[in-house]
C-alpha cells in the first residue's frame, strides 16, 4: 500500500466526523449565537461529559464493542450522590464520599455486566443495552421502594412524603459545581474548570499508561483475536470482565462529575440517556466499534455538543420552531450512531467476503499444485 495520503480512503474512514463537521459548520452561523457563548458552553461541556465518554475506551480495546452497560456505573454514581446529599456532605469531600460509596457498587455491577457479556459473545452491544434497561428496573426498585424503608435515610427533604422512596428530582446544591469551582481560571472571559480538566487529563495519562501494562496488552490481544489469546495463555474471560469493571467504575466517576456540574439530578432519568450520549459522542468523534482513541473522545464531545447547542436556535431561525431543531439533533445523533455501526459492520463483512474469496483462491491453487505434483 502506498503511504501517500489517500483522500478517498480518509473520507471513507471519517465520514461520520465529516458529516457532523459540515452540519455544525452550516448550523452555527444560522443560529446567530455569539462565539463567546459557544466557546464557554463547549468548555463547560468538555468538563461535564468527556470523563463519561472515556469510560468507553477500554471495552473497545478488549474487543467488546461500545459498552452500553456503562449506565450501570452511572446508576452507582447516582446512588453515591444520594447518600452524599442525605448525609449533607458538602463540596469536594461530598463528591469523594459519593465516589467511595459508588465504588463497590460499580465494581459489583461491572462484574455482573462482564459475566453477562461473556455469555453473549458476538452480541455484546445489544446485550449491554438491554442489561442497562434491566438494571434500570432494579435501580428503580432500590431507590423508589427500599430507600427510606429498608435502607434508612436521614433527610426528609429527599424522601417522598409517603415515607419511602427518593423524590423525582434531587437537589445537589451541597456539591453543586464544587469540583468545577475548585480551581476556576478565566481565560479571555471564558471560565475554565481547571480542576475538572486536570482530572480528565490525569485519566488520559492513565489510559496511555494502561495500554502499555501487561493487562492493557492482554486486552488489546483479546481485541484482536480471542482464540489466539487464549492459546497464548491469556485469561480471556477474566480480562474481559476486568475491562468492563474498569469501564463501569469510570462511568460512575464520570456520572458524578456530570451531575455536580448540572447541579440537580433527575433521580429516575439521569442515567437513561447517559449511554446514548457517550456512544454518540465517541462515534461522532471518529471512533469505531473496534478502535477508539483519546482524540476521538475530545473531537466527539466538541462536535456533538456544538450541534446540541446550535441546533435548537438554528431550527428556530429557519423553521420558526426550536422543537424542529431539537428533533433534528436527536435524529442526527441516532443516525450518526446507526451510520457508524453500519459502516463498521459493512467493512467487517467485506473483509470476511474477501477472505472467503481468498481462501477459495488459495485452495484452488493448492489443488493445482497437487495436480502438478502428480
Amino acid at each position: 500500500m502506498s503511504k501517500k495520503f489517500n483522500l478517498r480512503r480518509f473520507a471513507a474512514d471519517n465520514v461520520v466526523v465529516i458529516i457532523f463537521l459540515v452540519l455544525t459548520a452550516a448550523a452555527t452561523p444560522v443560529s446567530g449565537l455569539s462565539a463567546g457563548y459557544i466557546i464557554q458552553e463547549i468548555v463547560t461541556r468538555i468538563g461535564r461529559n468527556s470523563f463519561l465518554v472515556f469510560s468507553l475506551i477500554l471495552p473497545v480495546m478488549a474487543g467488546m464493542g461500545l459498552n452500553f452497560g456503562m449506565v450501570l456505573g452511572a446508576m452507582a454514581g447516582e446512588i453515591g450522590l444520594i447518600f452524599a446529599v442525605d448525609w449533607n456532605i458538602i463540596g469536594v469531600p461530598g463528591l469523594i464520599f459519593a465516589n467511595l460509596v459508588g465504588l463497590p457498587i460499580a465494581v459489583f455491577l461491572g462484574w455482573i455486566c462482564g459475566e453477562v457479556l461473556n455469555r453473549a459473545r458476538g452480541r455484546e452491544m445489544v446485550t449491554g443495552f438491554i442489561l442497562g434497561f434491566f438494571m434500570d428496573g432494579l435501580y428503580q426498585f432500590v431507590v423508589l421502594y427500599l430507600m427510606g424503608g429498608v435502607i434508612p435515610m436521614r433527610s426528609a427533604a429527599i424522601t417522598l412524603s409517603r415515607g419511602y422512596g427518593i423524590r423525582n428530582t434531587l437537589n445537589l446544591d451541597s456539591v453543586r459545581q464544587s469540583l468545577d469551582r475548585l480551581l476556576e481560571i478565566r481565560i479571555a472571559g471564558v471560565a475554565v474548570p481547571a480542576a475538572t480538566l486536570g482530572i480528565i487529563g490525569a485519566l488520559c495519562l492513565f489510559i496511555v499508561w494502561f495500554r502499555k501494562t501487561k493487562l492493557g496488552q492482554d486486552m488489546r490481544a483479546i481485541g484482536q483475536d480471542q482464540v489466539v489469546s487464549n492459546s497464548a495463555g491469556i485469561p480471556v474471560e477474566r480480562t474481559r470482565i476486568v475491562a468492563i469493571v474498569i469501564s463501569t467504575v469510570l462511568a460512575m466517576v464520570g456520572q458524578i462529575i456530570f451531575l455536580q456540574n448540572m447541579g440537580n439530578m433527575a433521580t429516575y432519568n439521569a442515567h437513561r440517556q447517559t449511554g446514548f450520549f457517550a456512544v454518540a459522542a465517541i462515534l461522532v468523534g471518529g471512533a469505531s466499534v473496534t478502535k477508539a482513541t483519546i482524540p476521538n473522545v475530545f473531537v466527539g464531545v466538541v462536535l456533538l455538543h456544538l450541534m446540541y447547542i446550535v441546533m435548537p436556535r438554528a431550527g428556530a431561525e429557519l423553521f420558526g420552531s426550536a422543537q424542529i431543531g431539537e428533533y433534528f439533533r436527536d435524529a442526527f445523533s441516532y443516525g450518526a450512531i446507526a451510520l457508524a455501526l453500519v459502516l463498521h459492520a459493512w467493512r467487517k463483512q467485506r473483509g470476511v467476503e474477501i477472505a472467503r474469496a481468498g481462501l477459495r483462491g488459495s485452495a484452488a491453487e493448492g489443488v493445482g499444485v497437487k495436480e502438478a505434483a502428480l
Partner: protein, 156 residues
Amino acid sequence: MSDASRIKSKAVAGRRAAFRAALAAAYLAAAAWAFVGGRGHTILLDNKSAEDGSYAAFRTVEASVNGGEVQQLSMRERVKAVAVGQRLRVKASANGRTFEGEARIPFGEDIILVSLPKLAAGIEPFWEPFRSEPAPRPAAEDEAPPSLEAAPSIGG
C-alpha cells in the same frame, strides 16, 4: 513446583495481601475523612437576650462562621449559616468591638445554635446542639416516575 518458586509465590501472595489491606485501609480512611470533614452543619446565629437577664442582645450585630459570608442581625433575630466539618469559628462585631469564639461540633449533631450575646459576654459554652421536632415532611409534587415507554426527552 520447585521450592524456590513456591517460596517466591508465597512472598508474592504476602505482598499482595499487604497491598490489599493497605488499599482497604486507605478506602476506609478516605471515607471517614470525607464523612467527618465534609459534613455540613447548619449553624443558627442568634441575637436574643437571656430570660434571666444575664446577657443582653445587641441592637445590631454582624457575624460570620468559619470565615464565610458576614450576616447582619437585628435584635431578636436568628439567621442560618453553614459550617463544613467539625470546626466552628464564629466571628462577630458590634458597637466597634469584635468577639471570636471557637468550638468543635460534636459528631452526629446537625444543627448548632450559637448565641452571639453569650459569646460577647464570655459565657462558655456559647453554643448548644439544636434538636428541633422533626419537621413535617413537606407534601411534594410526587409524580410517579415515568415509564420506559414514555420516551425521556434528550438533553445535554
